[in-house]
Amino acid sequence: MYRFAVFDVVCRDVAQTRPLGLRCREKLEALLAEAPEDQVVVVSFDGIDVMSGSFTDEFLGKVITAKVAGLTGRSPLLITDLNEETAEEIELCLGRRKMPAVWVQGGTARLLGGDEALKETFDAGVRRSEFRASQLAEDLGTTAQNMNNRLRRLLDAGTLVRARHDPSGGGREFLYRVPEIPEEDVSLPQ
């Protein structure tokens, strides 16, 4: 696991400006570029009490957008240590951009941002813990293609991981799951 502590860059419990958001984004993007695909990157907001919309958009909004576009590596990205206000801000910011991110806290995983379809898909995935696209499509009464599209969006944003699991009858299939925060911690110097 690679851990990025926002407070280490901000150094205060308030983060307001776009220039500060840019500083955080540049450091996180450098970390994402280095992290191997199979390593989770955890972004901790511990110590951050307040974030403005401008800061959040410049930082997280743009990082997630770049991630979905394939510009910042393929490792999963989890957000943690939010309070009610910072969670609300990220939800608002990412919702506007229709970009999703996973918030993991207290043993539960929640999708912030995205849209209703992605939230529905993510929640169904959490209930199953490990799943195939076909299973979730059946759970939610939608087509396999539609489900594949949703899972692709979640995967690109780093909110899901998948492993290949080819069925015995032939063909290609993937097993999806929500990434977890592992025990070990590799914090890169910032």
Partner: protein, 285 residues
């Protein structure tokens, strides 16, 4: 020499669209505060930004002090006089010697911000002030409101004289005002960078700026001021926004918006005034 005499009215002069301006030969610009009886943070930062901007352009600028000793002392206490002097604004009389008692629980004096680090430091102090008077959640909301104003001033405005900020709690009225002023390009010029908004006049630009998704950049942003109104709506206050010749007043509890032309000022100044609970520790002190 033909200069201008800017007559600052008695009660919160920069809250009103029109400020009386007449010709004078005393200096290039005279700020006549003779009759000023009450000044809010918006007036303090607006006056400081306006006078320093004119001075930075090489004009001879003079401040005529308020007749009221209390108001003269208040301007000194809030660092308006020291900021004006640092920019080379002349005073009609020496600054009063004032005793500074610790009032960090109710005010932040006019502060000059020149980069984003200054902004973040001020935001931290403002949050500490807010937490003295309102709940942690409400303080976070108010801090975000302030953040949107500050980000606009420092990101879009980029003026040679920087940004001035101020905050004050009014115990008797149970209100708190946060104010920001810059002498930058103004809202109309900023929005005109986006071809969609090139033909707006100064009043129309203010009206547009308060709508979601309106930005002078081509990026998917521009929600700062509309977020500010949304955040403020729960607190029964008002927002005053003026930029060059445009003036906007929004009463946030019912989202009543009034836009009109006003006296031209350099740059932009904005204030948010919100109600604070009467049971706050600050009000019980």
């Amino acid at each position: 020499m033909c200069g201008v005499r800017i007559r600052l009215g008695s009660n919160e002069p920069l809250h009103h669209p029109y400020i009386d301006i007449a010709a004078t030969d005393e200096a290039d610009a005279v700020f006549d505060a003779t009759h000023m009886a009450f000044a809010s943070p918006l007036d303090l930062v607006g006056l400081t930004s306006w006078a320093s901007a004119l001075r930075a352009l090489g004009n001879a600028v003079l401040l005529i002090s308020p007749q009221s000793g209390d108001v003269r002392n208040y301007l000194a206490r809030m660092n308006v006089i020291s900021h004006l002097e640092s920019f080379g604004v002349a005073l009609d009389r020496p600054a009063p010697n004032i005793h500074r008692n610790d009032r960090t629980r109710v005010l932040i004096e006019v502060r000059h911000l020149s980069d984003s680090d200054d902004v973040e430091e001020f935001s931290q102090d403002a949050l500490a002030l807010l937490r003295q008077h309102i709940s942690r959640h409400d303080a976070a909301v108010a801090s975000k409101i302030l953040g949107e104003l500050l980000d606009n001033a420092t990101s879009h405005a980029k003026s040679a004289t920087g940004v001035f900020v101020c905050a004050q709690v009014y115990r008797h009225g149970h209100e708190l005002e946060l104010a920001v002023a810059d002498a930058g390009v103004g809202v109309q010029t900023h929005l005109a960078r986006n071809p969609k908004y090139r033909n707006l006049n100064e009043v129309e630009a203010l009206e547009a700026a308060l709508l979601p998704g309106v930005s002078g950049t081509s990026e998917a942003r521009g929600n700062g001021l509309s977020d500010l109104l949304a955040l403020t709506s729960g607190y029964g206050g008002k927002v005053v926004l003026r930029s060059h010749g445009g003036h906007a007043l929004v009463t946030t509890v019912n989202d009543l918006r009034a836009f009109q032309a006003g006296t031209h000022i350099p740059g932009t100044c904005a204030a948010v005034r919100i109600g604070i609970p009467t049971s706050s520790p600050g009000n019980m002190a």
